[in-house]
């Protein structure tokens, strides 16, 4: 799946997907859940919390 396809699927711009991949943007809970739904998995499978 391309960044643009994922961006279109969850309703954000491609730059936001890039920012999340590079760790410069932390998505809202709603966006994190939408992304997890696209990949049909749990939020914690897509994102991890660096403490």
């Amino acid at each position: 799946m391309t960044q643009q396809a994922l961006a279109d699927a969850v309703g954000v711009t491609r730059q936001t997907i890039v920012a999340m991949e590079t760790g410069t943007y932390t998505p809202s809970l709603a966006l994190a859940i939408r992304i997890a739904r696209v990949f049909d998995c749990k939020v914690e499978d897509v994102f991890e919390l660096n403490e």
């Binding site: 960044q3 279109d8 730059q15 920012a19 998505p27």
Partner: protein, 144 residues
């Protein structure tokens, strides 16, 4: 310049930020350049700031394209707070300094000086807002 901008595939909010920065800096430079010759008439150069009125055109919806998402909103919020906050702070400090200076010399503050101050703070505010937004977008355009 335009091919460079196009190659980076900016989103609409980035275009707004670039417009704010370029127009504000151009207005400040124009007024500063004309002021020695025209005096307070050079303040007419701030009319360039009227071009900021075109920025909503960048934000109009085109088909299913996402115009502004949650990250853009966050960036805009931070940029606005920084731009307006800094400009307001500088305006107040400048007014205090000017008032102190002229009261020490037993003179009235010239109204032309207040006009210069107000217009430049307005331009400065939008320049800072645009620059802050662009700094936050920096480095997130590549395909990664």
């Amino acid at each position: 310049l335009f091919s460079h901008i196009e190659a980076k595939a900016m989103n609409p909010v980035q275009k707004v930020a670039w417009t704010e920065l370029i127009v504000s800096v151009l207005a400040i430079v124009l007024v500063a350049t004309l002021y020695p010759w025209l005096g307070s008439s050079a303040l007419g150069g701030f009319a360039l700031l009227g071009l900021l009125g075109i920025t909503p055109l960048f934000l109009r919806r085109r088909g299913n394209q996402v115009v502004r998402d949650e990250r853009d909103a966050q960036i805009e919020r931070i940029a606005s707070w920084f731009g307006f906050g800094t400009a307001y702070l500088l305006l107040m400090l400048s007014m205090v300094a000017i008032t102190l200076f002229y009261s020490q010399h037993q003179r009235d503050v010239p109204t032309s000086l207040l006009s210069v101050l107000l217009w430049s703070q307005f331009a400065f505010c939008y320049a800072l807002k645009g620059a802050t937004a662009l700094l936050q977008y920096r480095g997130n355009n590549s395909a990664a």
